[in-house]
């Protein structure tokens, strides 16, 4: 009689411990799908731009005056969120709250600056294909930032009422991962709309 291949595990984590849990995979799939969405948005830009007539770019040399500081601000907010997550890992609740709170504020300022920049544009959503692409792509990004700051707010509140520990904090890590994603994807949007014209694309 052959032996039965019986799995007899030793101590196993019960529920998510740290990042180890299926929720982490769940957020991973969400990020993959969302990344694809942005890839298609940028594909639409490059596809349309590559075949366009000269003059397609409504701003041949986009100003970096607002966009660059805003980009740096958003990247810094990723750092703040990371700092907050470290706080949870080290039982330092005030550090965690500071990190999540400042990431929340920086994200909000980013949205306000973007909003303001939209209003400084000489063109509107329906002016041309370039304008439509610009507003819809940055609009998609703003929508993601708004979801991200809502997530940060929730994490802030849950941290404030002492929900998490270094063991039980998958929610925190997943939320922060999403925030990193929102920030990284902005770098692609920023490079596409603000930098490639300077390199000659679409001219």
């Amino acid at each position: 009689m052959p032996e039965a291949a019986l799995a007899e595990p030793r101590d196993l984590p019960v529920g998510p411990i740290g990042r180890h849990g299926i929720g982490w995979w769940g957020v991973g799939t969400l990020v993959a799908s969302e990344a694809a969405l942005f890839a298609y948005l940028l594909f639409a830009y490059f596809y349309t731009g590559a075949a366009a007539q000269p003059g397609w770019l409504l701003e041949p040399n986009p100003s970096l005056k607002l966009a660059l500081p805003n980009t740096i601000l958003l990247l810094a907010s990723s750092g703040a969120a990371w700092f907050g997550e470290r706080g949870v890992l080290r039982y330092r609740r005030s550090q965690a709250l500071l990190g999540f709170g400042s990431a929340f504020v920086m994200g909000t300022v980013f949205v306000i600056v973007q909003w303001y920049e939209w209003h400084t544009k000489a063109f509107g959503l329906g002016t041309s294909s370039y304008a439509s692409l610009y507003f819809v792509t940055t609009g998609f990004h703003i929508a993601h930032v708004i979801v991200g700051i809502a997530v940060l707010a929730a994490i802030f509140i849950w941290t404030a009422i002492d929900y998490f520990s270094p063991q039980r904090r998958l929610t925190v890590s997943a939320g922060v991962l999403y925030w990193h994603f929102v920030d990284i994807v902005w770098l692609f949007v920023f490079a596409t709309y603000y930098l490639t014209p300077h390199l000659g694309f679409g001219k």
Partner: protein, 646 residues
């Protein structure tokens, strides 16, 4: 007191006491509340299947009405406008509301049973996927029933679909409905991916997965990446129509071809997504009736993945006639031709399985094996149109219609009905009637080929697709009449299947746990399975745990009667991605109304968008946000947070 973070699962055997405990933990609430809040994958799977078959019937009736109109030249049963809406709604229904959800249904029902698990990785997400599917299906059909169905074909090219040429609400219903449905497909795909990688029975390493799991996993990975393309395209179309954007409008510097690219970047992988899981059904079901394991398991598994990877690079073969540069056409033509290689691997593996086996001719076997023939016919006509000059001759003719029906009916519906005969006993505890089954099969098979084989000729003789009628004497009259007759015969065949299901649900012969003497884990539990699926978590030592004794391949055998009990909560085992080593105890969520509420909120939001009544949109968004908040609120019983400290 703070519960321990780590635990050594108790190993034991099944007992009455243990079962009673599991029953208390896993059984859903009775009545209406239970109906709306259940997260049991078996309930959700059955609902997917029933709903998808309802849409199959609707799409079928639409097709029959069209076939009446086309039965002879110059008929006037339908106006051109009605015909446009019918063929578009037929395509939308079959491709989006039947072909994919039916496979999600079977996979939802079967996966945890095939994998030796107690539920999907994200049970509440599973429920959400179903509710969104139903809601978006109702949304799309609300358009059709109010005379606002899609009317530019299922792939909906601009500028036909632009507002200037199509001012009604038709395209707005279709655009928003597709974005809406995309949510369901995406969350379903995410759930399948995580389930496949993280919730298998210990020992079920990646090279022991049933092929159907490979098929659905591959399709889900593709869907996760490509559904955003079509959702985006439809959103852009809606904005072009309603907000004056210029994505597809050349007068504003837009690109009409961008629509086609985005649509087919999604559309072609989607074609594989709606056949690969069905091919998996054949790969798993056919060997049972050949009384031997599948020949070339590894090759079939790898060819499944290879088909999908190549499938990402063939979308332009839908656009050969759009005037793209020759170099690009050559590349996509080459890729489309190469894709026959992995498809052929599967075909030869099935043939070899029949050849080397001792086939038992059941209705399920007939459906599975006939699929091989239909697949080859549909594959060869696809191979023909992969060649650019041939495609230029045949595109937009009935040849392409014949091809796509061989592919979709041949590789989706035939395996699905076969899977119905194969797995119905598991779902209901009853056998389908074999005698009626033979009538069912032969009516479907003969009707289908009568309808669609001559259609190749109709196309070769130059009849364009999507015309509501045609003139006499073009050489199309007899062929069309034959197709119309065949389509009705085929429909009667499908009806026989429904009759068989209705008749056997209560009155069929009792099935028992393993009526086909099949090798995989779902047949080791009772029919229908208990709410918790497996009283003890099985440990798997081969691809065919129930055939180990007779195959005698040496080595250890699977342990089905003894294993982890996991009964101190609603629990199942989480395993490592490749080797399926136990690596955590998963706390599973209980029944919840949050998925239904979220789907409701999203539905309200889409109605608001359609009618452009913004307060309604905001209300829907608020309901959805509240539902999400309650869903994601960290819960102690799921160990998502620490218990309150005193």
């Amino acid at each position: 007191m703070r519960p321990a973070d780590y635990r050594t699962p108790t190993i034991g055997i099944d007992s009455a006491e243990h079962v009673a405990k599991l029953m208390r933990l896993w059984q859903g609430a009775p009545g209406l509340k239970g109906f709306f809040s259940t997260v049991d994958h078996k309930e959700i799977g059955k609902r997917y299947i029933v709903t998808a078959f309802v849409f199959l019937a609707l799409g079928g009736i639409e097709a029959l009405i069209m076939r009446l109109q086309l039965a002879g030249p110059n008929l006037s049963l339908l106006t051109p406008e009605q015909y446009n809406e019918l063929f578009s709604t037929h395509g939308m229904t079959m491709i989006f509301l039947y072909a994919s959800p039916i496979l999600s249904g079977f996979s939802n029902y079967l996966w945890p049973l095939l994998l030796g698990s107690r539920d999907m990785a994200f049970p509440r997400l599973n429920a959400l996927g179903y509710w969104i599917y139903v809601a978006s299906g109702i949304f799309l059909y609300a358009g059709f029933l109010t005379g606002n169905g899609p009317n530019d074909g299922w792939f909906n090219y601009v500028p036909y679909a632009s507002r200037d040429y199509n001012p009604g609400l038709n395209e707005d219903f279709y655009s928003l409905g597709m974005v809406f449905l995309g949510i369901s497909t995406t969350v379903g795909a995410a759930n399948f991916i995580v389930t496949a990688f993280r919730t298998r029975a210990p020992g079920m390493s990646i090279n022991r997965l049933p092929i159907m799991v490979w098929g659905t996993l591959t399709a889900s990975a593709a869907n996760l990446i490509v559904v955003p393309a079509v959702s985006l395209a439809f959103l852009m179309l809606w904005m072009d129509r309603q907000f004056g954007t210029h994505f597809f409008d050349p007068s504003g510097g837009g690109q009409p071809l961008l629509w086609q690219h985005l649509f087919w970047i999604f559309g072609h992988p989607w074609v594989y997504a709606i056949v690969l899981p069905a091919m998996g059904m054949v790969s798993d079901g056919l060997p049972v009736f050949c009384r031997r394991p599948l020949v070339g398991y590894s090759f079939v598994a790898l060819s499944t993945v290879a088909t999908m990877i190549l499938g990402f690079g063939v979308w332009v073969h839908h656009m050969f006639a759009t005037g793209l540069p020759g170099m690009g056409l050559s590349f996509f033509s080459g890729a489309s031709i190469v894709i026959t290689v992995p498809s052929a691997v599967a075909v030869f593996a099935w043939l070899a399985t029949i050849w080397l086996g001792r086939p038992v001719i059941t209705t399920a076997f007939l459906f599975f094996s006939s699929m091989i023939l239909l697949f080859v016919i549909g594959g060869v006509s696809g191979f023909m149109t992969a060649s650019v000059p041939v495609d230029w001759q045949l595109t937009d003719t009935y040849f392409v219609v014949a091809h796509l029906h061989y592919v979709l009916i041949g590789i989706n519906l035939f395996p699905v009905v076969g899977a119905g005969y194969f797995w119905f006993p598991k779902m209901s505890g009853r056998m389908l009637d074999e005698r009626l089954g033979r009538w069912n099969f032969w009516t479907m098979f003969l009707g289908f080929n009568l309808a669609f084989l001559p259609m190749h000729l109709t196309g070769l003789f130059g009849m364009p697709r999507r015309v509501y009628t045609y003139a006499e004497g073009m050489g199309w009259d007899t062929l069309n009449l034959i197709t119309s007759i065949g389509s009705f015969v085929f429909a009667i065949g499908v009806l026989l299947f429904f009759i068989n299901v209705a008749k056997s649900w209560k009155g069929g012969a009792i099935a028992g746990a393993n009526p086909w003497d099949a090798p995989t884990l779902e047949w080791s539990v009772s029919s229908p399975p208990p709410p918790y699926n497996f009283a003890i978590i099985p440990t798997v030592a081969s691809r065919h745990p129930l055939w180990e004794q007779r195959l005698d391949e040496g080595g250890a055998v699977s342990s089905l009667d003894r294993g982890m009990l996991l009964d101190s909560g609603k629990e199942t085992i989480g395993t490592s991605a490749l080797d399926a080593e136990p690596d955590m105890v998963l706390e599973m969520p209980g029944d919840s109304l949050a998925p239904l509420l979220l789907a409701l909120g999203i539905s309200i939001l889409f109605v608001g968008l359609l009618l452009k009544i913004w307060p309604v949109t905001v209300l829907g968004g608020a309901v959805a946000a509240l539902a999400l908040l309650s869903w994601l609120w960290p819960r102690r019983e799921l160990r998502e947070r620490e218990p309150a400290r005193a």
